[in-house]
């Protein structure tokens, strides 16, 4: 069975939800600790949502230096699937595994809502089970979710098809080009502000649209071996 790790940083909040989503998808969920320098042999890693270190400085700025991140970076560079959700996305940007940065929402308040998204790319380790152009609805909750990057970076992301999700309907946080999620060049590292782990259980989530994201990585891992 594929093993997917979820890192708990001090201040991680949605780590349990991410572990649950992994189990729902049918993989073995492995809790990983920020202070460890081992990934315990997992096949993929999720950096979950939350407020690591309170996010007082900049979201993800301190977590990026956690000992476990060296291994995550090494793994990501070697092609291991890595998904950063919300705070995890911020950490991936701070760690320069993904370009750009996430800044304070333009509305300047925390926003929690059921957000419509357009899938822009199914060519990543985390979105093969989705179709480009498909509309999904995923829980969004953040205070600093506005994606920014310089014009060149933005053009490159768009040109290379590395925008993975875009906000549909209204843009909740002022993200440039309505960007909700992006991938690295290789497509193994994806960062997204919305929380697919909250959309795997009909009882507690507004839709089940998060499931294909976790199913995608299992598919990716099984075809790779």
């Amino acid at each position: 069975m594929a093993k997917i790790g979820v890192v708990t940083f001090p201040g991680s909040l949605d780590d349990h939800d991410a572990l649950r989503a992994v189990r729902v998808a049918g993989a073995e969920a492995v809790p990983l600790w920020h202070g460890s320098d081992s990934l315990d042999g997992v096949d993929a890693v999720i950096l979950p949502g939350g407020f690591s270190y309170g996010d007082y400085l900049r979201c993800g700025a301190i977590a990026r230096f956690a000992p476990v991140m060296d291994e995550v970076i090494r793994g990501a560079e070697a092609g291991m699937p890595v998904l950063g959700i919300c705070n995890g996305f911020q950490i991936l940007c701070e760690a320069h595994l993904l370009p750009g940065a996430l800044i304070r929402n333009d509305v300047r308040t925390f926003v929690c809502c059921d957000q419509k998204l357009t899938v822009e790319s199914s060519a990543t380790a985390w979105t093969s089970q989705l179709q480009a152009g498909q509309q999904i609805e995923i829980v969004l909750k953040n205070g600093e979710g506005g994606f920014v990057a310089d014009a060149d970076t933005l053009a490159r992301l768009e040109g290379e098809g590395r925008v993975v999700f875009r906000y549909a309907g209204s843009n909740p946080n002022g993200s440039m080009n309505d960007i909700a999620g992006i991938a690295n060049e290789r497509g193994n590292v994806v960062g997204m502000m919305p929380h697919p782990e909250h959309n795997v259980d009909a009882l507690t989530g507004p839709t089940l649209d998060g499931r294909p994201i976790f199913a995608s990585v299992l598919d990716f891992l099984s075809t790779r071996v």
Binding site: G11, L13, H16, G49, F51, Y53, D55, F110, T204
Partner: protein, 597 residues
């Protein structure tokens, strides 16, 4: 120079600022009688905060006793595992699980500094729940503001909402409901009530008790700073100078990240069975934690106050005793467990320090650099404060208020007028959609929120295997309570009870937060007694025990009190959360019934 016990005995005539600290002449005299000498500055600090209305319930105690008439057995036949008097009540919900929940006020601090006041209000109630041995799993926030268009509401509301939101969001506690009500009487005195609910296994129940001579007393969490000790700086300065503003801030700043670590650390300490007694730090800080722990136990306590880690090294012993710095806890630990305790604290980056130990005798002794500055019977500090039977009387204006019915109001005559009225109603801040506020709260975190905004009651799944869950609702209509405080309190109870019942859960227990004006006004005191009578009778009829609550007096602007606001929180149990009933029409073709008259 510190004012030691010896010094106090030698200088009986030393003038002390008891009045500035809010004590009456009678209360100060009583302290002298209890001690057989004048109190030291540190003792005066302790007594004054612990005997304050907020901590001692001196005006409400005689009436709260009436809650004793309410059965302590829930409708499903189980006895409360902890009731009124503990940090929070604990209810058996079956399958070995118990739930603890409580609502508390943080009204005044939230007016002074809205964001931090509301944030630390959430932080405080969460620590109460944690101290029972429970994992906090959700919060709610009944709020009251002045009219929406008032400039001061524009100052207060965004800060309070962001404070509630940022603290709860950062702790990872889903916000599953609350209230937002606007009324002119709250303009200079908004209400911030915060409810937290937690879950534990029966065997994990913890109490605030220092037992076992030789056991170590450990303070852990944040270092102590000068927060919220306005009054104590009077004691610190040799001479009291009323013209000089206090350098000590009366506001506390919250650090939700620290609290998140404190929660995870504490739960791990519980799981490792390293804690024999525990208390959170709320109002009255170390004064409260040490005196309550010692008073509840079978021995005394010896504390070396100079061991307390400080954020501000200039603090005096009086100030340290009164500091309301947030995100701190006090645990009683067997000597052999101290190393293991410290190791878990280190894992979570939580500062922990042994500050004292449990002793054989029944004194609370506090030393400062080797000299004794406090030597008291802790019960006299924690439980034997003054009790007042304040006069109360139905005010003369009550008849007038009641007779001023809606009959004299103009009625819309035409369809257009009716449409106009309807538009006015749906646009009124009290009735309109609240998502502009609730969207700032995370309702999804932890993945167990079965019902949240905009539902009538919030519902949380407790156990994924069996689907066991709890539902909660808080309600109060202060206008009803003004018209008739007895019936108004019952209506609050009935509404919260109905909301929980409608969600599919069986209501089993209540908590309350009684927000009123000055108890020194007989009319207010009458409202208060009526509201309690209403709740007591209501709970007896419904068979729901009262697990605890909070009284907040002096909510007024000048002589204008707020509407009497007895907020009631009802908790219900549902065996299988998949059988919940959300609001709204679900399936086309379903029949619609009207129940009741």
């Amino acid at each position: 120079m510190v004012d030691t016990v010896q010094n106090a005995a030698r200088t009986p005539d030393h003038a002390q600022p008891w009045s500035e600290l809010g004590l009456t002449a009678d209360e100060y005299d009583r302290i002298r009688v209890i001690l057989g000498r004048r109190p030291t500055g540190a003792e005066l600090a302790m007594y004054s905060v612990m005997w304050s209305e907020h901590c001692s319930y001196k005006s409400s105690k005689v009436h709260l006793r009436r809650f004793g008439e309410v059965p302590t057995t829930t409708p499903n036949g189980s006895e409360l595992l902890a009731g009124i008097g503990e940090n929070a009540g604990v209810v058996d919900i079956g399958q070995g699980y118990a739930v603890t929940f409580k609502v508390e006020s943080h009204n005044h601090p939230s007016y002074v500094e809205p964001h931090q006041g509301a944030a630390t209000g959430v932080g405080g109630i969460v620590r109460d729940i944690l101290a029972m041995g429970a994992r906090p799993i959700g919060v709610m926030d009944p709020l009251r503001f002045g009219p929406l268009h008032e400039p001061d509401t524009a100052r207060v509301l965004p800060g309070i909402v962001s404070g509630v939101g940022s603290y709860g969001n950062c702790l990872g506690l889903p916000n599953i409901g609350g209230e937002v009500v606007f009324d002119r009487t709250y303009l200079g005195n908004p209400l911030v009530n915060a409810l937290c609910v937690g879950v534990l296994r029966h065997e994990d129940l913890h109490v605030a008790k220092a037992t076992g001579a030789g056991n170590q007393v450990i303070m852990y969490g944040a270092a102590t700073g000068g927060d919220g000790i306005g009054g104590a700086s009077i004691l610190a300065s040799e001479t009291f100078d009323a013209t000089k503003p206090s350098k000590r801030p009366a506001v506390q700043v919250g650090d939700p990240f620290m609290e998140k670590l404190l929660i995870e650390c504490t739960l791990e300490l519980f799981a490792a069975r390293l804690v024999t007694g525990i208390q959170d730090f709320g109002a009255a800080g170390i004064s409260c934690a040490t005196s309550e722990l010692a008073a509840a136990g079978d021995g005394g306590m010896h504390v070396e106050l100079d061991r307390v880690p400080l954020r501000d090294p200039s603090l005096s012993p009086e100030e340290i005793l009164m500091s309301e710095s947030q995100e701190r806890m006090m645990a009683v630990v067997e000597p052999g467990d101290v190393d293991a305790f410290m190791a878990i604290c280190r894992k979570w980056d939580v500062l922990a320090t042994v500050v004292g130990e449990v002793t054989e005798d029944d004194r609370l002794i506090i030393d400062w650099h080797g000299e004794t500055v406090v030597d008291v019977d802790p019960k006299t500090v924690a439980h034997e404060g003054p009790v007042y039977e304040r006069p109360y009387a139905r005010p003369r204006w009550q008849d007038e208020v009641q007779s001023n019915g809606s009959g004299s109001l103009e009625r819309p005559q035409t369809g257009d007028e009716l449409a106009e009225t309807l538009l006015q109603l749906v646009a009124s801040p009290n009735l309109c959609d609240k998502s502009w506020i609730t969207d700032q709260f995370d309702r999804y975190v932890r993945g167990n929120s079965v019902l949240a905004q905009p539902e009538d009651a919030g519902m949380l799944r407790i156990d994924e295997e069996t689907g066991l869950g709890v539902a909660l609702s808080t309600d109060c209509n202060g206008r009803f309570a003004l018209l008739d405080p007895y019936a108004g309190a019952q209506l609050a109870l009935a509404e919260a009870y109905r909301n929980v019942a409608c969600s599919g859960a069986e209501p089993v227990a209540i908590t309350d937060c009684l927000n009123f004006g000055s108890p020194e006004d007989p009319a207010i005191m009458w409202q208060f007694t009526q509201a309690i009578a209403g709740l007591v009778d209501g709970c007896q009829t419904l068979g729901t025990p009262v697990t605890g609550g909070n009284v907040s007096f002096y909510n007024q602007t000048g002589t204008t009190p707020i509407l009497p606001t007895p907020v009631v929180g009802v908790m219900g149990v549902i065996e299988d959360v998949t059988r919940r009933t959300p609001v709204g029409f679900a399936v086309e073709g379903d029949a619609v019934y009207l129940l009741g008259e």
